[in-house]
Symmetry: C2
Subunit: 343 residues, 2 copies
């Protein structure tokens, strides 16, 4: 039984983790792609700190795909479909299955329909499967749909998640309005031109899974305020009590049949004891709740990118979103045993 051949597409922090996991799971890395001049020409192992891998980083996807005929590309490059289309199209045109952590790719049918339909058509023609996965796959979609499966009647589904502004640099802290007053925040929000939230994609996937008919879709944004004087590592500055430490986007989809779906995504400076959360509440019969305590979002993004590979290789061709894939499972054995073996 041969190994799965993978190309690592993007050689940043996420694919550095994913590359280690791929190797641990018996995947053969046959190529690596980056646009960074500092990385192209170097060995993937040297750049990721994993030791000599004999895989030279290239900036030519077409050449790499033709030469290596990989079973899958593992893409960790960007977040929005407008950008992600470049890597996904390259994969689709060469008949290469792809998993990407691009957040919008989780369920892009409503927010970027033209691009997604174009990619779906190319992939169906060449026999490739394209899937957006990552932390959001299980924690924001499939663990929620499974808990929904234990309800008799659902009135509402409400999710709450968060990320730490201080995990990123001063630019992101600025984007999140850290340090602003509420007045400044309100002024910024009125004139801000922002892309659709990823919470929207999460709710689109949940609603699509139920077969319910979306009617009204809204996004509102509220500032998160410092409960006391705080220090922001990203800003390298103190933030006064009552000042803005980030904000929460609240996406909501109402449905013709009644159930209301809400997702609150908060990007803010954390208090010392805080971590990323994942909490879901279902109102109806019965009342249900789920919490994953503190979630290591970056690691669970990489694990799902890797553990989804057998599902994606085996899936029908096209742009296949995760609510249509089988329940994700732990890969105790090399990944190829789940594709070509009896696991």
């Amino acid at each position: 039984m041969r190994k799965i051949k993978a190309v690592v597409y993007g050689v940043g922090a996420m694919n550095t983790i994913a590359t280690r996991m791929l190797l641990d799971k018996g995947v053969e890395i046959v190529g690596a792609l980056s646009r960074s001049e500092a990385k192209v020409g170097k060995d993937l192992g040297a750049v990721t700190g994993l030791g000599e891998l004999g895989v030279t980083i290239s900036n030519d996807p077409a050449e790499v795909f033709k030469r290596t005929t990989p079973d899958v590309a593992v893409i960790a490059v960007n977040s929005y479909m407008a950008d992600a289309v470049e890597q996904l199209r390259a994969c689709a045109e060469h008949g290469v299955n792809a998993v990407t952590l691009s957040e919008e790719a989780l369920y892009p049918w409503k927010t970027s329909p033209e691009i997604t339909e174009e990619l779906d058509a190319i992939a169906k023609r060449t026999g490739a499967t394209l899937t957006g996965t990552g932390h959001q796959d299980v924690y924001w979609v499939n663990i929620v749909t499974m808990m929904m499966g234990t309800a008799h009647k659902i009135d509402s589904v409400t999710g709450r998640a968060s990320w730490n502004v201080d995990d990123f640099g001063p630019e992101v802290a600025g984007d999140q309005q850290v340090g602003s007053s509420v007045t400044e925040f309100d002024k910024w929000l009125k004139s801000a031109s922002r892309p659709p939230t990823f919470g929207r994609n999460v709710l689109d996937a949940l609603v699509a899974h139920t077969g319910l008919t979306p009617t009204k879709i809204t996004t509102t944004t509220r500032p998160d305020l410092a409960p006391s004087r705080m220090y922001s590592k990203a800003l390298q500055a103190e933030v006064e009590e009552g000042a803005v430490i980030g904000f929460t986007d609240v996406d909501e989809i109402r449905t013709e049949e009644g159930p209301v779906f809400t997702f609150e995504m908060s990007g803010r400076v954390y208090m010392p004891e805080e971590g990323d959360i994942n909490q879901w509440d279902i109102a109806g019969e019965p009342e249900l709740t789920l919490s994953n305590g503190t979630v290591p979002t970056q690691i669970t993004t990489c694990t799902q990118l890797v553990n989804r590979i057998p599902d994606v290789i085996k899936a029908e061709p096209g742009f296949v979103t995760v609510e249509k894939l089988p329940a994700l499972r732990y890969r105790a054995f090399p990944l190829h045993e789940y594709v070509w073996g009896t696991r």
Copy 2:
């Protein structure tokens, strides 16, 4: 598109709830079975308080199955395979799919192999599918295997669940040794002849799903003690601080490949603010946790019994345990649309 035809097998507290849910989901109840002389001959609706249903409760499964040719039987009668085999065999012999809440039926391949293999053979011959489901399906197996799917490397999986002795009568309180001293408890435990725990079936299902090889299987039992003077509704008596209020069975399966699976099931008198819990921790990379707060176990048993019906009707014939079924999903529409329609 015709409705699903169901027979309600057992007319107690659980199937009273399930009958209402079946009717809500557009299922046609074509028969009802009970061995209770007080119920046989009466209308199912009269006994369950759901109003005239035109379904007379019978004590003759063969006659009911032949006359009504149901698509599925919903069994809520007993807990162990040694008892459950009677109802499951009746279904299998008549080619009737069945869901049962019998706890051991969740994964009976190891604890009752002969009975299970016999039922599997009959069901395969007649084209029926037999499945044990209920609260344990999602909360103790499938939500756990899904969270495991977000791990890179698992060292251990540890679950904790509980049930309230006071939800039952004095007999169960006696079985749980409520009111005993620790010395009395230890003496009882040494000589007690107890059937395998249901935690064993849960762990068997989890390990089977991973494909790992079980090596050592143990069950240990420890008393739960009153943290202060408590009142037991089941005993209708006070229990002194330090006295036994129930006990916790700790099942453990070690595997050849390394990961250790543990499930702690506690049946005890609750403090006023306590409820049934469901908590799972995965140690490895990364560390993961899940809690469902307070779980309404009886309701989630009935919802899963009902919501699993389309999966069971569509499954291959045989004794099909839940770790092999598709991810359970919410049924927003009549159940037959998931079987014969495009949902």
